[in-house]
């Protein structure tokens, strides 16, 4: 089966993620969409690694996962404090800073 389909898939996933970030209100969901985008990138890495026939891409995806994990830690911390102080996880409530 054609390798490029994997790339299309990753592109689709990335797009879905991006759209999600733009559309969804819940901070957690938005963040998950970002993770989705990262994983889309991972898929692309792995695919290309397969194409190039080396392992660098695979390694890269591992790095990505680790970094993503770190992001989760930091991100959730921030979101939780937000939630506690506002009693809501909607990012639209966090719009005091403007103009």
């Amino acid at each position: 089966m054609d390798i490029s389909n994997y790339l299309y898939l990753s592109a689709i996933l990335f797009t879905i993620g991006a759209v999600g970030v733009v559309l969804r209100r819940n901070a957690i969901v938005v963040f998950m969409c970002v993770e989705l985008m990262l994983n889309a990138a991972n898929l692309a890495f792995v695919t290309f690694s397969r194409v190039n026939g080396d392992l660098v891409g695979q390694v890269a995806s591992f790095f990505t996962m680790v970094v993503a994990a770190c992001e989760v830690v930091v991100g959730l911390a921030i979101i939780v404090t937000m939630y506690r102080s506002r009693r809501s996880a909607s990012i639209d409530d966090a719009s005091l800073l403007k103009r």
Binding site: V22, I91, A94, L96, K98, R99
Partner: protein
């Protein structure tokens, strides 16, 4: 060419004394007028010495020069501050310093009640200095300095009582009108430099043969414009009447005898230009002819004695300009009339001043009448001046004016008839309005009310009048005896041996014609003004127009002043709204964009993300476009 070292004193002395009087201020009040008069007298003495010295010399040796210092030297533009005293300028120097001195003396008494008398004399000295510089400068640029100097002095003196707004306006008007003339002089100098690479009289004279007719015509026209401005010739005549706002001695010296004749001097001095350009010469003729009639007409309707005399001045200078327009033969007669006119007109102005002095500054002739009885000396001196101006032999005016009329006719062809006719007509009108002045002022019944106590003026005032009267009686005869003046001036205006080629009519005939029309004018005046109403009769439309100075001011007002003001208003508006508006507009647009950009920053993460996504898409598409 001889060199002398005293010429500079002619200018320096009055200049310094005027500076002293102005700088010392009130300290000099006691003796200021004496110093000024003394200085003026000493200039006359120097002039006299120079004159007699000049008569000793012959031919080219007569002209005297004095090189003072390099004034301007830039590239090929070299102007020396140097003076030239030749047969032509000596006439003026004598006239200025002589009449000037007399008027200084007169003013001592006339201004005695004015607590700014010192300042007045300072101005008078300033004028003398500037006027002498004007006639002594050996290049157009030096002349220009004197030219503007006399303008300044006249401005200061017209506005001497500038606390009266009308007088201040009159002063301003005079200066501005003169400035219009100065455009002419400036451009003339520029043309001269561009054409000949020099602005000295001799240099330009030497260059004339090589220059194109167009250039010469332009040069001539510009010089004429300058002359018109300074000598109140058509179309720049309007300021002279208002200039009578100045104290009467000023009117006598500056606005009758000397400054206003500077135009005649300029044209005579530049004779080489006009001789080489018939077109320019014709212009001169036209201006002169028009002005002499214009002035004469205006003179007929004036009830203000000074304004009547002013109009007459304008007309007489018209004669002189006309004469200069007649070529080599004319110059001498122009100068002759200028000198005689200097005597009789100054004399008459002083007379008028003396009358006003006695009538506590009443100027309306309709409120005079029968003054001859109470002011005999004034009446007599004025009368002699009158006889001179209307050209009764053997008085001065006869010789000078008669010659001009004669030469005018001899110009030949229709031109001759036209200018001659104009001159003749002018003579008639002159006779009329001058007689009118005499009748209204000195004869008839007394029309002044009782608080006026007319009395003869003090000796300090009448002595100068007497001297001038003598001048107006004798000068003409002297100048004309054996063509004295003509021969004297011939080398300067290269009229040597020039005689009116073919006579249009025998001289005697013309003289008789002249006398005839004069007689008519006198007769009409006498009959018309047997009785004089104190209030001027309404008069028909023509009279009204003439009373309004042939609408000269209305014309200027409509054609120049109001459009000018409108233009100014327009520009001011344009500067605020348009030009600065553009700047402010740019600012406004930026500010507006800024506020809008600010609105985009709405604080929602999602919209920020959206902006980014849009950015990415835009980025991709542009890359696509660039690469494919």
């Amino acid at each position: 060419m001889t060199t002398s070292s005293n010429l500079v004193y002619l200018i320096a002395l009055p200049l310094v004394s005027s500076a002293i009087l102005l700088l010392l201020g009130r300290i000099a009040d006691k003796w200021g007028h004496l110093l000024a008069t003394l200085v003026s007298a000493s200039t006359f003495v120097i002039a006299a010495i120079e004159f007699f010295a000049m008569r000793q010399r012959t031919g080219d040796a007569r002209a005297v020069t004095q090189d003072l210092f390099t004034w301007i030297s830039v590239g090929s533009f070299n102007v020396h501050a140097s003076l030239l005293l030749d047969q032509l300028s000596i006439c003026f120097v004598l006239l200025i310093s002589g009449v000037g001195t007399l008027i200084h003396i007169y003013s001592i008494a006339y201004m005695s009640h004015d607590h700014d008398r010192r300042r007045f004399f300072a101005y008078l000295n300033l004028f003398v200095a500037a006027m002498l510089l004007l006639v002594l400068g050996d290049s157009y640029l030096n002349l220009y300095v004197g030219w503007e100097g006399v303008g300044l002095a006249s401005y200061l003196l017209i506005g001497f009582w500038n606390q009266k707004p009308a007088y201040a306006v009159a002063a301003k008007k005079a200066f501005v009108a003169n400035r219009v003339g100065d455009i002419g002089l400036s451009l003339a100098i520029m043309i001269a430099f561009a054409q000949f690479g020099t602005v000295s009289f001799t240099g330009v004279a030497a260059g004339v043969p090589h220059a194109s007719t167009a250039a010469l015509t332009g040069l001539g026209a510009m010089l004429l414009l300058a002359a018109a401005g300074k000598s109140a010739q058509f179309p720049l005549q309007s300021w002279l009447g208002d200039a009578m706002a100045g104290p009467t001695p000023v009117s006598a010296l500056i606005h009758a005898a000397t400054m206003v004749t500077a135009g005649v001097y300029l044209i005579t001095r530049s004779h080489f230009v006009f001789d080489a350009s018939p077109t320019a010469q014709t212009m001169v003729l036209i201006v002169g002819g028009v002005t002499l009639l214009f002035g004469a007409l205006v003179g007929t309707a004036k009830d203000d004695i000074k304004k009547a005399l002013a109009a007459s001045t304008m007309s007489q200078i018209g004669y002189m300009i006309l004469a200069t327009g007649l070529g080599p033969v004319g110059y001498a007669f122009a100068i002759m009339h200028l000198l005689t006119h200097g005597f009789f007109k100054a004399g008459m102005f002083l007379g008028a001043g003396s009358v006003m002095h006695g009538m506590n500054d009443e100027v309306n002739m309709r409120r005079y009448g029968a003054i001859g009885k109470v002011m005999p000396i004034t009446a007599v001196t004025f009368g002699l001046g009158y006889l001179a101006i209307i050209g009764v032999p053997p008085f001065a005016g006869f010789y000078s004016k008669d010659k001009i009329i004669e030469t005018a006719f001899n110009a030949g062809g229709t031109k001759g008839i036209l200018v001659g006719g104009a001159a003749l007509l002018g003579a008639a009108i002159t006779a009329f309005y001058m007689t009118r002045v005499i009748v209204l002022t000195f004869t008839g019944t007394k029309r002044w009310d009782d608080e006026a106590h007319p009395h003869e003026s003090p000796s300090l005032m009448w002595i100068p009048m007497v001297i001038l009267a003598i001048g107006s009686v004798a000068s003409g005869f002297l100048f004309n005896s054996g063509r004295a003046l003509v021969n004297w001036l011939a080398p300067v205006v290269n009229a040597a041996g020039v005689h009116s080629e073919k006579e249009f009519l025998p001289a005697t005939t013309i003289s008789l014609m002249a006398l005839g029309v004069v007689a008519v004018g006198v007769a009409i005046a006498i009959t018309k003004y047997r009785t004089v109403p104190v209030e001027a009769p309404a008069g028909n439309i023509l009279t009204k127009i003439v009373r309004r100075d042939l609408l000269q001011d209305d014309f200027n007002d409509r054609v120049l002043v109001r459009p000018g003001q409108a233009l100014t208003r327009f520009f001011v508006g344009m500067d605020n709204s348009f030009i600065d508006g553009i700047v402010r507009g740019v600012g406004g647009v930026i500010a507006l964009t800024s506020t809008n950009l600010r609105r985009i920053q709405n604080g929602y993460v999602r919209s920020y993300a959206l902006i980014m996504v849009v950015g990415v898409l835009a980025l991709l598409t542009t890359i696509w476009m660039v690469t494919l």
